[in-house]
């Protein structure tokens, strides 16, 4: 059994494929590619596919991680090309390689997005006020119910620029097996803190990282 890891993008119409449907979609893609998929032993034999992080419905990404197993050792470029030949529209395998680190090594993820507004200058003001607060408290739904979290300490703003009709931001948020923050928490916080109406657009995951800003691979 050969363990491999694919980095893939999910854009355009493909961003409406839910996480639940993605597993089935990948299985069919692999079957179309004719690659020798490894199946588990036993009565309910099934292939092994595992996504490092779930991606919210409607988000795009350039850096989704899929772990899978093959039965034969096939050059990784060939695996990539065979999959890309049968991928759904809007999805593309960027690379295939061996699995270097365990998914538990993931610590955070980077997102870019636009906050569309008629008056980006005023919105920018509110954003600056918000991110300069001591704390950014927001209610987060968890399996155990709703709890209040402070996203300020873990939130890292990479860039924040005024564009013609929006404020465009890039930020990193904790991700992985421990804490997972979604940019929607920040949107919530901004909605609570600002009187400006804005719409979110072009939300995209742009990177998945381990400690020391090392790109997860």
């Amino acid at each position: 059994m050969i363990r491999l890891r694919a980095v893939f993008s999910k854009k355009d119409r493909a961003k409406y494929i839910s996480h639940l449907d993605l597993n089935r979609c990948m299985l069919r893609t692999f079957r179309r590619s004719g690659l020798p998929i490894w199946y588990t032993e036993g009565f309910h034999s099934h292939p092994y596919f595992s996504f490092a992080l779930a991606l919210s419905l409607g988000y795009e990404s350039d850096c989704e991680i899929l772990d899978f197993n093959l039965n034969e050792d096939i050059p990784t470029n060939e695996v990539r090309d065979r999959l890309n030949a049968v991928m759904p529209y809007g999805m593309k395998i960027i690379s295939v390689a061996e699995q270097k680190r365990k998914v538990t090594a993931i610590t955070n993820a980077e997102y870019s997005f636009s906050l569309v507004s008629d008056n980006p200058d005023l919105l920018m003001n509110d954003i600056e006020n918000l991110i300069n607060q001591e704390q950014i408290l927001i209610e987060k739904k968890t399996k155990k119910g709703v709890k209040t979290v402070d996203i300020k300490p873990d939130m890292k703003i990479i860039s924040c620029k005024i564009a013609e009709k929006s404020v465009d931001m890039v930020m990193r948020l904790p991700a992985g097996t421990q804490t997972n923050y979604n940019p929607s928490l920040f949107f919530e916080a901004l909605k609570n803190a600002s009187d400006m109406s804005f719409e979110t657009a072009k939300i995209r995951r742009t990177g998945i990282f381990c400690e020391n800003n090392e790109i997860f691979s």
Partner: protein, 613 residues
């Protein structure tokens, strides 16, 4: 742009991937190189419509032609419909995301009567005039329908420009070719329809006017514009060679039948007297086992599905069933594909085959005796004996199953209370059989599910003359059945009687029902086949307001010499045959199936020669 408008709201609704296309296998063309655009509309939601095989066939077939583009369109669920109406998003096709009102053809497939109001709702959402007479004189926006329900299209006649009778694989392209030619010449809609009605299988309702007698029955039919007095359905003669897609659109979200489906035969040789499909698809035609295996492999490889099902009215009647299944099983086992055989009778399978089938069958066995007593089974010509039923159950129990599901019908012609009590007694004999078996599954008791549908008389069957039971009779029989069964071991489910009544009215209705359908839709009726949306009270109001008595259509016996609303449509089976079969039914005389003996239904005469070698 429409796409932006759509995307703006997609995250507010359930399963958004249903509304944005982009699935593997969907066909996107360059608009500037396309001459004729066809919106294939299914009058129900994506999950249901995407499961429909006919759509897959005609979609691929049309798109094989470089300059024709067929796209898909479904009824939006209520959440999205509200958003569409609030934001002026017209109904659009999934491939181009262009409004379907700008298409050359808007084609609906009519699979069940209770989807009629959805057609009106979709036309309205699209911004297309609901009534054909209100559409432009220009040659564009031709609204057409096909599918089993159009064998009596009269309750829909006012909404469609034309109907396509029978199998669409050839005639659809002929129709589009004619359109393409006439569009180039700058012809009008009317000119096109006059030419189109000369194509075999094309019925243009506006050229046929009904006159009624004082008692409500048809007095005569007036034909105008040189249209043919009778319109004959289309048949594919060489079914083995007929076009079959080598790819399906593979949805992201789960649909009802989420698998490869390979059509193994068309038509049916059994002649059950209640079954419309058994007559309107005659004669039985098969694909060779080799063709079926080939098509299965091709579709599995191209779609990536790991489940395949064989589609037909009765797979067991395929003359090469054993070699076909053996070969398919070798392939599917190798490739870890699940093979499902929905309409397979197990009582005449070989031991070896049975072993294999048992290995892969996950769910329990189902069986459709349709009627409990031999007398009543003879009336409906359901060629199943008690011995076969018991044998099937024995096989099921011996194979480790402790539950069976049985399908029955209620309200059949000549049925008495004894026949209803007979269902409970038959269930009891199956329970008793279970406990007499040494090798029965241990640890569990036996469970019998009985699903009881209400009989709906349908056009183009020997029972087209029959009245349906009244609601009182249906409800009495449902209660009687519930009171008769062993409640611990038997679970009974049945349909809402009102649904079956409406089905009967729409199935056997004439053109005067168009106003009722329209009025019911105006009152908010849609998705009538979805329990939670079915409002019979609104339908009753609509009947009342239009001065139509539903029992005239549902509960009246039609005499043999009456002019039928569908009498000018020719599905190859003769009227005399239906009369003869109806008389036989009342004498409980059975008719052998087509392979045993031809009963001269008329099909052979018309296709020139014999149905079987």
């Amino acid at each position: 742009m429409l796409r932006e408008k759509i995307e703006k709201h997609l995250l507010e609704i359930q399963k958004p991937s249903r509304y944005i296309g982009g699935e593997v296998g969907s066909v996107v063309k360059d608009k500037s190189k396309v001459d004729v655009r066809f919106a294939f509309c299914f009058p129900d939601t994506y999950d249901i419509g995407m499961s429909h095989l006919g759509m897959k066939i005609l979609y691929s077939l049309t798109n094989e032609r470089e300059n024709y583009w067929c796209e898909r369109c479904f009824a939006p669920s209520e959440d999205f419909e509200n958003i569409m109406r609030e934001n002026d998003i017209p109904l659009y096709a999934l491939e181009s995301l262009d409004p379907i009102k700008d298409f050359d053809f808007i084609g609906f497939t009519m699979q069940y009567e209770l989807s009629y109001t959805n057609v009106l709702n979709m036309l309205d959402l699209a911004g297309i005039p609901i009534f054909a007479r209100d559409r432009t004189e220009e040659l564009t926006q031709i609204v057409v329908a096909g599918g089993p329900c159009v064998c009596n299209p009269e309750p829909l006649a006012d909404f469609f420009d034309l109907f396509i009778l029978g199998e669409g694989e050839e005639v659809n392209l002929e129709l589009m070719d004619l359109y393409y030619e006439m569009k180039k010449q700058g012809a009008s809609r009317k000119e096109f329809l006059r030419k189109a009605c000369q194509i075999e299988g094309i019925y243009v309702p506006e050229f046929y006017k009904f006159h009624y007698k004082g008692d409500g029955t048809v007095e005569r039919l007036e034909v105008t514009d040189d249209a043919p007095p009778t319109v004959r359905k289309r048949i594919i003669k060489d079914f083995d060679k007929v076009y079959y897609p080598d790819n399906f659109v593979v949805p992201f979200t789960e649909i009802v039948h989420d698998r490869v489906s390979v059509e193994v035969l068309r038509g049916c040789l059994r002649g059950c007297r209640f079954c419309q499909a058994g007559f309107i698809y005659r004669p039985l035609r098969e694909k060779h086992a080799g063709t079926i295996v080939e098509q299965t492999k091709c579709l599995c490889e191209n779609t990536g599905y790991d489940e395949v099902s064989l589609a037909s009215l009765s797979t067991s009647d395929h003359s090469e069933i054993a070699p076909m299944l053996s070969e398919l099983l070798i392939y599917t086992e190798d490739e870890k594909i699940n093979l499902s055989l929905p309409s397979l009778r197990v009582d005449n399978c070989s031991e070896e085959l049975l072993e294999k089938i048992k290995k892969m069958r996950k769910s329990g066995l189902t069986f459709a005796p349709e009627a409990s007593t031999q007398r009543l089974r003879d009336v409906i010509n359901k060629n199943v004996s008690e011995e076969e039923i018991m044998n099937t159950c024995r096989i099921a129990f011996g194979g480790g199953y402790s539950s069976v599901k049985l399908y029955f019908m209620m309200g059949l012609p000549t049925e008495t209370d004894e026949d209803i009590i007979g269902i409970a007694e038959l269930a009891q004999r199956i329970i008793d059989l279970f406990y007499t078996m040494e090798n029965r599954p241990k640890g569990r008791g036996v469970q019998i599910s009985i699903s009881c549908a209400t009989f709906v008389p349908k056009p183009f069957t020997p029972f087209q003359f029959e009245p349906q039971d009244t609601r009182e009779m249906i409800e009495h029989k449902q209660k009687l059945l519930l009171d008769s069964v062993n409640k611990k071991r038997v679970k009974v489910s049945y349909h809402d009687a009102n649904v079956s009544i409406l089905e009967a009215v729409l199935a056997k209705g004439d053109r005067r029902l168009c106003d009722v359908v329209y009025t019911a839709w105006k009152k908010g009726c849609k998705f009538d086949s979805w329990g939670e949306y079915f409002h019979f009270d609104k339908w009753l109001e609509a009947f009342e307001e239009c001065g139509i008595d539903p029992s005239f259509y549902a509960n009246r016996r039609i005499s043999y010499d009456e002019i039928l609303p569908w009498g000018h449509l020719d599905y190859y089976v003769s009227h005399e045959f239906f009369v003869r079969e109806n008389k036989n039914a009342h004498k409980a005389v059975t008719t052998p199936h087509c392979r045993l003996k031809c009963s001269g239904c008329g099909v052979n005469r018309e296709i020139g020669g014999r149905c079987f070698d």
